[in-house]
Structure formats: structure tokens, C-alpha cells
Amino acid sequence: MHDKEQSVSYLDYKGKHSGIFAWILSTDHKRIGLLYLMASLLFFAVGVTFGFLMRLELIAPGRTIMDAQTYNSLFTLHGIIMIFLFVIPGLPAVFGNFFLPILIGAKDVAFPRLNLLSWWLYVLGALLAVISVFLPGGPADTGWTFYIPYSIRSTTNVMPALIAAFILGFSSILTGLNFIVTIHRMRAPGMTFFKMPLFAWSLYATAWVQILATPIIGITLLLVTIERMFGVGLFDPALGGDPVLYQHLFWIYSHPAVYIMILPAMGVVTEIIPVFSHRTIFGYKFIAFSSCAIALFGSMVWAHHMFTVGMSETAQVIFSLLTFLVAIPSAIKVFNWVATLYKGSISTDAPLLYALGFIFLFSIGGFTGLIQGALSVNMHIHDTSFIVAHFHYVMFGGTGFGIFAAMHYWFPKMFGKMYNMKTAKVGFWTLFVGFNTLYFPMFVMGWLGMPRRYFDYLPEFQIYHFISTIGSWILIVGLIIMFTNFIKALRSKTSYTNINPWSGETLEWTVPNKPPLENFEVIPTITAGPYEYKDNDEILTKEDN
């Protein structure tokens, strides 16, 4: 190892390869994280565009800008892209890759080459999903759930989409595997499990879900593929197969997948709140264990997506009961976050705004989850736009805002540049208002009986659809403000040299901005917990200057 390399930033060092190969063949966890970031933001833009077009179509009843087939393909692609290409990798693969090794004082993840392989699988899966759009037959129109028997009858390109999801699942498994071994084996001396930053804890719990649940969707999608190719009959009701069994298997993964998406976002919020309150986290162990509890209970509630399929009464009761219980660890987290603000010294910079926005929106998502967990109410609101609103509050208001929070929080560390704080706040408020205008009306119309995945609707719902579409425009303005702010910062020539802009205590704030290859010159020895602030007086004087 040459000393010279040590001091050069991860963006600039010269490795074995040059040009684009220095990136796409790099095993450096930071470069891979950045590759994931760029790819997933690209797909986010595509997903947003699809969402925008669907909302535009729904501004008035009847055909507005597209036909029903296009609409059906759009919501399928919107789902596949947003879930598999943006929300699932958005935090673990992007920020987990970039910051997990730094947070625990390691030079890289445990298996750097495997890490690169997982990015390549991601790209391969993504390409396949893109190709499926352009092949003859047209993009898949099954919804992202690929429910049998429609998915074996549809003449659209379901197969490439299935295989894409399969490959993306594999990529996700490899990331999870890497993180578990990294956390077990690569912590800096002195960093016990209970001295780890809570983001690492949340990634740890997530990784277990990734490893254990993802293969189920893998095999399920594989079976659907085989079903389409050979007509084996494993799910096809015409041959005695059970379409409900397909749904069970699908949700055994896809419900825990929700926790793959939300847990790391909770982890980010848990990092941000103590830093911006400049005091220690309230109830460290409770938050850490609640992550594990969510991962555990989260894999036991899948069938609450299926209350209307006619399961046995026993199953209905068990799954409803467990669904209510899974809310408890999330509630514990929320209470601890709020308690962390108490008697802090709070600085309301953009990352904190996003974190608090997360708490508010995620709480709405969580509470409306309770409403659906109640069996009798579920009979009414299942598969209505109430559900659509609920999971967008969780996935977008929760994970999406978590990702935005992480971007604002770690931006100066990743790029050595600083964005304009005022613009960032304006961006936040626009997004926040747009988000609620977009999704809240869906609760109302869902309760009034507007089914989801509808290309057309009864005139009585028009006012809500109209408001919602207006909301989508505000939301997009918010996104544009946020991203132009970032781009401006990236293009500015002044580099930002303050390595600890938020006065954090975790390890990433001890390394230079744009950390060098292998992150640390000397691996630190850890003696204190991640949020033990000792300079509570200094921070105030610093703020004055």
C-alpha cells in the first residue's frame, strides 16, 4: 500500500484500471456505493415520470392521454422500477455500501469483489427490465405482484420482467450477505455491537431479511417462469394448482421486503436526530432491538395482504393479531426519536427536516397500516386507493424521505461540496406539501370505494383525483428544486473542507471529505458509544461564530 494513495480521495485515486473501468470494475465500497446511487437515481427519475404520467391520465375520467393497456403497463413498470431498482437498493446498497465500513471503522466490506458482482447483477436485472419494455409483445401488464393466473395468461413480456426481478433479488442477497459478515468480522477494535451506530444495526437486521426472505421470491418467480414455459401446473388452477399458494409465497418475501426498505431508513433517521439535537440517542438498546424485532415479526405477517382471498379463519386471526403486534417496535422507535429531541440543542438544518418529515409521514403510513390490519375494515379498504396511499406514505414518505435525508446528511462527506441550505429547506417544504396533496386524497377516495389499478373511474371520485394530480406537480417541483440544488453544489468550484459540518461523533466525520481508498490511515480504537457528545458547550459557541 503506497502512502500516497492513502490521501487521495476515492473519486480521484488511480487504480488498476482507468477511465470508466476505474469505476465499473472498482471493488472500493465507496465507488460501488456511488455507482448504485447514480443507477438508482436514474431509475427513480424513470419511475417518477411513469407516476407523473399515470396521475396525468387520472386527472379526469375516461381516456385522457393514454389507453388502458399503456396505463396497466405503466403501473406495473412503476412498481417494479420503484421497488426493485430504487427503494430496496436505495439505502443498503447506496449508503450502506458507502458508509457501513466507515461507520464501523473498516477499510472495506468483507467481500469487495462480491460487492462489485452484486452491482453488476443489479445492472443486468435493470437492463433486462428495460429490454422487456421494448421487445415485441409490450411491457408486462400484470402489476408488480405477478398474480397467478393472470401472469401466466398475459401475452406481454412477463418472462423478462420475472427474470429481472429474480436477478435483482440475487443482487440484494449478496449485499445482505456482505453486510452481515462485515459487521461480524470487520468492526474496529473496541467497537462492540452496542457501540455500533444504529444505522449499522438497522442494516444488520435488514441484511438478515434480505438473505432469508429473498430466496422465497426467487423460487416463486422461477416457478412462474417454469409454469409459463412448460405448463407444469404448480400454480395454474386449470391444472389443479392453487393461486392462493402463489400469493402466500409471494408475500412471504414481499412483506418482509417492506422492512428491507424501511429499516435502513429508520436507521438513517436514528443517526440524524441525535446529531442535530447534539445529545445522545434516547434508548439506544431499545432502538437496536426494535430493529431486530421488526425483522422477526415482519416475516410473520405476510398474509395480511390476503385477508380477502378466503383464508381459514384461524389464519385470518393469527395474521391480523401479528400485524398489530408488528406495529409496536416501530412505535417504540418513534417515541424514542421524539424523546431524543427533548432537552437537546436542536439545529434545524435540511437533514433534520427530512428526518422529522420522515417521522410524520411514516407515522401516518404506520397508523393507516393499523386501520388495514383490522379484519373487518380490511374487507372494505383492501385493494382500494387507501392502500396505495398507505404504502406510498411508508415507501415514499418513509423510505424516500429517508433516502433524501441521507443524501442531505452525507452529501458533504461524499462529495466534498456543500449544497445551499436555504434552497434545501425550500425543496423540503415543497416536497412535503406536494407529497401530502398527492397522496392524502387517496385515503379519502379509497375509503369511499375507489379501487386501485383503475384506468378509469366513476365521476364521483374526480375531485380527489384532480387534487391528487395537482399534488404530483408540486411534488415534482420539489424534486427538481432538491436535485438542482445538489447538481449546483457538485458543479461549484469551491470545495468544502469542513470534515464535520454537523458536529457528529460517528466515525465518518473523522475521515476526510471524499474519503480515500481504505478510508482510515490508522484504524481507530473505539472507546465510547457513537452518540456520546462531550462538547455540549462548544457547539453553542461554534454556532455563534
Binding site: G344, S376, M379, L448, D456, N536
Partner: protein, 216 residues
């Protein structure tokens, strides 16, 4: 919305019970967040206090939510139990779903495009699908039930008022999913009997062309 069926009260009660508690908690959480952000703002120059946690408080805010959600579960369950068990004397209608229409068939063989039912009489619908998954959804009655091939689901309701209500398909079923609407038409007993009688006569008149019977 017009008062439609027996399930409405139970569903609405559970819904508003959970929504009420949730709204209250959401308000408390949001209020505290905003209050703390202003009260302990760094600009006010107050020194932060490191509070590691409080086990008593943790137990408190674990136990109370557990009790609350158990109550919510109970509310949801009793409403569902009611929906699940039809009375023995329920009138049975066979519902067949296919891409993208509903057919309703009565005991005497009469078929219709809309679901005609007498008011104040328990109706049990047996659900069959000819192709893919559908879901039999009557928003005004507050319930739905999936209609799956190879699986015979059923559900019951008791229409409490005369009127016309929408039947929607709530499980995505392809191109014209959103057009798969029908009506449940609740008639006074007398009118319903008349309707059934006329339809039967029509049916017998043109046994071979049963599809023509559906026009009324």
C-alpha cells in the same frame, strides 16, 4: 353515503375507533416534535442534556400501545366474524366473474347482469371465476371478497335499504379491469318477487337464448 347493509356499523365503528386513536397519537407526536424543535432550538443557546434513556418510560410506551392495538384487533375481529358466518336461511345467488363482466344466477336458473336482491333478507353470494382472479366489491356495503378460479369463496350481507349500489372488481384482472362495474339493486320484497317471476317467464320463453334474458 347511503346506509347500505348490516356490516356498515361494525366496519365504520372499527374504522373510526382506530382512526381516532391514531389521529390523537399522531397529533401528540407531531406536536411534541414541533414544540421541542422550537423550545430546544440551538439558537436559544441552551445546553443539551445527555439523557441515555429511561426504562420505565420504554415499558410504558410499549405496554400502552400493546393494549391499544389489541383493542383495535378485537374491534376488527368481531366485525369480520359477523361477515364470515351467513345465517342458514340466507338466499343464495351464484356469482360468476370473468374478464370483464359479472353474471348473477338465482336458484331457479334465472341469470342477470345486475344483482337483484330483496331488502332485509340475508343474501349469500357464492363466488366463481372462469378465468383469472377478481374481487367482488360493494363499497356501499363495506366488504369485498376475492373471486378465484378453483376456490369457492362466499360472503353474505343483509341489504338494509332499497336502492342501487355499485359492484366493482377490486382485484386487477387485465385490460378492462376498471370497467368491470355492475350494480346491486335492492328492491322491496314484493317487487323482487315480481322481477324474479317475470325473468323466469322470459327465460322459459327463450331457453336457448339465455343471454337475452338479462335485458330488463
Amino acid at each position: 353515503m347511503i346506509y347500505g347493509s348490516n356490516h356498515i356499523d361494525l366496519v365504520n365503528d372499527a374504522f373510526w375507533f382506530i382512526t381516532g386513536i391514531s389521529a390523537l397519537l399522531l397529533f401528540v407526536i407531531t406536536f411534541l416534535m414541533i414544540y421541542f424543535v422550537f423550545k430546544y432550538n440551538r439558537k436559544k443557546g441552551k445546553k443539551a442534556v445527555n439523557i441515555e434513556g429511561n426504562t420505565k418510560l420504554e415499558i410504558l410506551w410499549t405496554v400502552i400501545p400493546v393494549i391499544l392495538v389489541m383493542a383495535m384487533f378485537w374491534y376488527g375481529w368481531i366485525g369480520y366474524r359477523d361477515l364470515k358466518n351467513p345465517p342458514k336461511d340466507a338466499m343464495i345467488v351464484k356469482v360468476t366473474a370473468q374478464m370483464w363482466k359479472w353474471t348473477f344466477e338465482y336458484d331457479n336458473g334465472v341469470k342477470a347482469d345486475s344483482l337483484y336482491v330483496p331488502v332485509n333478507r340475508a343474501i349469500q353470494v357464492n363466488l366463481h371465476s372462469l378465468d383469472v382472479n377478481h374481487s367482488f366489491f360493494i363499497p356501499a356495503f363495506r366488504f369485498k371478497r376475492d373471486v378465484l378460479p378453483n376456490k369457492n369463496n362466499s360472503i353474505w350481507f343483509l341489504p338494509a335499504n332499497v336502492g342501487k349500489f355499485d359492484i366493482a372488481c377490486a382485484e386487477y384482472c387485465g385490460l378492462s379491469h376498471s370497467a368491470m362495474y355492475s350494480k346491486v339493486i335492492v328492491l322491496p320484497q314484493q317487487e323482487f318477487d315480481n322481477w324474479l317471476k317475470t325473468e323466469l317467464v322470459k327465460k322459459n320463453a327463450s331457453v336457448t337464448q339465455s343471454s337475452a334474458v338479462n335485458r330488463k
